[in-house]
Subunit: 141 residues, 2 copies
């Protein structure tokens, strides 16, 4: 599993030490914008993450305090993953990546969401952070 070493004291570098790969931020995207919260749901995303990579990243994110794992109230064999405040703090990163992707790549995105994020990025960030925070407090799905 690994992935612990800090390459330097630069804050950009330390962020990339944890978030700088092709999958980690996609899992967080699914949690924030995809309404997903279980292993099986993450597997279904369009990018088709491999099962071993997903398991690796989930335990990594958990050990790094980005998310918590809890058994589903309706099913003891199911787990629900929720972002911690540390994880919720990555929403601005997701949003800036989204805006750059929209501008420079061939992408498809819900027009309503795009307009919301483009016109008032700061407000949109706060809104989705609030939504995911509230969801974490619900009586569990």
């Amino acid at each position: 599993m690994k992935e612990a070493k800090q390459r330097s004291t630069c804050p950009v570098s330390t962020s990339l030490d944890l978030l700088g790969d092709k999958w980690t931020l996609l899992i967080i995207r699914d949690l924030v914008f995809g309404g997903k919260s279980t292993y099986g749901e993450f597997l279904q995303s369009a990018e088709k993450i491999a099962t071993n990579i997903l398991a690796d990243r989930l335990t990594l994110l958990e050990t790094q305090g980005m998310l918590t794992k809890v058994v589903a109230p309706d099913k003891k064999s199911k787990f629900i993953y929720r972002l911690t405040e540390k994880g919720i703090d990555t929403v601005p990163i997701l949003v800036t990546l989204l805006l750059w992707g929209v501008k420079h790549g061939p992408t498809v995105i819900d027009p309503g969401l795009l307009k919301e994020i483009q016109t008032e990025p700061a407000a949109a960030i706060e809104k989705y952070q609030r939504l995911v925070r509230e969801k974490a407090l619900l009586p569990l799905e």
Copy 2:
């Protein structure tokens, strides 16, 4: 070299297709905040990128239109790398990564720069984008 495929049409995903690794954004950081612009200067950064990885990422960034390569006016054996507008558009990503790193990791950063970025992120982003843009128009160093 590789690195071309688009995994999905999600803008977050397409951004990560190009920027989602441990080194690419560090090179851009050096260009924006480090005042660096040559192969040798990138090699000197604290994270100690390997020479083959650096060469790979530079050609990748060049083919993707993120930066341009031009011979130095004073030395024909030296090249100067400059960000394109597409590359300059990644500054908001760098800044959000920086702010997350400052908040959640043990990092060291110039207090003046930090205060500037923390109090008025949008203004700071515009300022550094302008600075790197102006530098690209200078009579070359």
